[in-house]
């Protein structure tokens, strides 16, 4: 069953039409990697899916429910999704532990003791149990992003949306974050991730979707899209990426 489905998403900022009708279906336990040049609209698409932007046309379906219907309470929908951005994810005035327990307690109304116990368990799994009391600016960028992922997971989302979670990191920190994403994927989380890490997309994603000119130009298994791209634009893009040494 499709956990997340995007149908004909259109989004413009003023005269700048960024998305011109994007369709994307994400099956349960699947990982979709969203690739495309800078400014192609990957972040915009994820923000539309997360209801952080109002779409100009089209539908977002979460578990079959049209959540772009204005009668739907968007706050309640967002609770069922986890989102991690490129940077500035953690709240700097809250400790790591409070960052992770905030949504479970304030949004989902779970008892604090229970939320704290679970948060400590999650932090222990990423090797950051001893950082629970620290503030985010005392953590490395990689540690911060791992905490952000764990925080998104703490509300047990139906789908995890990751927007280039490693692109603001020093190269040496990328690996630890990708390892966590890999682990989360292996446990069956449904994931849509915008990424420039083609090697990682090839290994972890079930589907790679190439966004160009406001539409999904092609999508399919990584071997196909990254190995034998059908469109000239895709080949150009991949050639540029290879030049940049990221494949």
């Amino acid at each position: 069953m499709n956990v997340l489905e995007l149908r004909g998403i259109v989004k413009a900022f003023g005269d700048n039409v960024v998305l011109r009708g994007v369709d994307l279906a994400v099956d349960e336990h699947r990982v979709v990697a969203l690739i495309g040049g800078s400014g192609s609209g990957k972040s915009t698409l994820l923000r539309c899916a997360a209801l952080l932007e109002t779409v100009d046309d089209g539908q977002v379906l979460l578990d079959g429910e049209d959540v772009t219907d204005p009668r739907v309470d968007a706050d309640r929908v967002r609770r069922r999704m986890g989102v991690v951005f490129q940077a500035y994810n953690l709240f700097p005035h809250l400790s790591v532990l409070d960052n992770v327990t905030l949504a479970p307690t304030a949004v989902h109304g779970r008892p604090r003791a229970e939320a704290v116990e679970e948060a400590r368990g999650l932090l222990a799994r990423i090797g950051l149990a001893d950082k629970a009391g620290e503030y985010p600016d005392r953590l490395s960028g990689g540690q911060q992003q791992r905490v952000a992922i764990v925080r998104a997971l703490a509300v047990r989302p139906r789908v995890l949306l990751l927007d280039e979670v490693t692109s603001a990191l020093d190269p040496e920190l990328v690996g630890e974050v990708l390892a966590l994403v890999r682990e989360v994927a292996a446990q069956g989380m449904t994931i849509v991730m915008a990424t420039h890490e083609m090697g990682f997309a090839r290994q972890v994603a079930d589907t790679v979707a190439f966004l160009d000119g406001g539409v999904l130009l092609e999508s399919g298994p990584p071997a196909q899209v990254l190995g034998e791209p059908q469109h000239a634009r895709t080949r150009q893009f991949l050639a540029r990426v290879i030049d940049a040494g990221r494949l």
Partner: protein
């Protein structure tokens, strides 16, 4: 929900040397430190000497002036000062009350206006417009005029239940004006919080209100505290203006005594009391500002 407060202690340098003590300073570093110390001593001496010289010159100029004996008795008479002090001090209590009540109200109203001004969406445009108009109006109008309009205009309406006490009306006028200033301070703080913080909060399912209360405002407050304290220092002296409505505060009781004794010393006494009141908050504002700056540029030289 018990969110833990941010701890204040922070390392002075952004790059912390972990483990092991600092090695003993080299000869070079020791000589640099000695040189800096001697320079610092010299500039302190120069500053001290020039200040002293200026003070002496000013003192001589004033006390040698032909009018000084008269000025001394009419403005700086010790006996009049002592005599007027109790009344003026009692009046200052009124100012303090206005300060406390008004200060708290200003925080609440200012925050509310700021929240209205940062609302997004076309449906809320009228509210946003009203809030903007409010700020424009009361930031532009001199406080003394607002005092007159509120203090004399409201009672003139003769409405049932409208308070006529100069204390209440004076406080209201001050709150109207200062809320406009403080709203702008708050708004700057709210807008200084990175937009991703809002997106992160909303994506966790927090409502708009929760996002404001738990994520945006705590961060905004920290950046605006120095500015708020500066406005508080200004408020401390402006509460003396309620005297124009006839409230018997420090300024008004000084005025009464000036009228009785034909001696201006009570004004000086009242003025000094206001200064005494302002000094601690001014120092606090300095300290908070300095700390905020340190936090922003820990380690860097400029």
């Amino acid at each position: 929900m018990a969110l833990r407060r941010r701890r204040r202690a922070r390392p002075v340098l952004s790059t912390v040397v972990t483990g092991g003590a600092l090695p003993p300073p080299s000869e070079l570093e020791l000589s640099r430190r000695a040189w800096r110390r001697s320079r610092a001593r010299r500039s302190t001496l120069v500053a001290l000497a020039s200040t002293l010289l200026f003070a002496v010159v000013a003192y001589l100029a004033v006390t040698r002036s032909p009018g000084w004996p008269r000025v001394q008795t009419t403005f700086f008479s010790a006996s009049v000062a002592l005599e007027s002090l109790p009344e003026i001090a009692r009046g200052l209590l009124v100012n303090l009350q206005v300060l406390v009540v008004g200060g708290l109200l200003v925080l609440v109203v200012g925050l509310g206006i700021a929240a209205l001004r940062t609302l997004r969406g076309p449906a809320l445009a009228p509210l946003r417009f009203l809030a903007t108009a409010y700020v424009d109006l009361f930031r532009g109008m001199p406080l003394i005029i607002v005092l007159y309009l509120v203090g004399f205009g409201f009672p003139a309406l003769g409405l049932q239940g409208v308070p006529t006490s100069p204390f209440v009306l004076g406080t209201a006028a001050i709150v109207l004006v200062y809320s406009a200033y403080v709203a702008e301070v708050f708004r700057a703080g709210i807008e200084s919080v990175h937009p991703s913080q809002r997106a992160a909060a909303r994506s966790l399912g927090l409502t708009h209100r929760q996002t404001m209360r738990i994520v945006v405002l705590p961060q905004a407050l920290r950046t605006v505290t120095p500015a708020l304290l500066n406005d508080f220092v200004a408020l401390q002296k402006d509460v003396g203006l309620i005297s124009v409505l006839g409230a018997v505060d420090a300024v008004r009781s000084a005025q009464i005594q000036v009228g009785q004794s034909f001696n201006f010393t009570p004004y000086v006494v009242a003025g000094l009391l206001f200064v005494l009141l302002a000094v601690p908050s001014a120092r606090l504002a300095d300290a908070v500002t300095a700390r905020a700056r340190r936090r922003q540029q820990s380690g860097s030289l400029l």
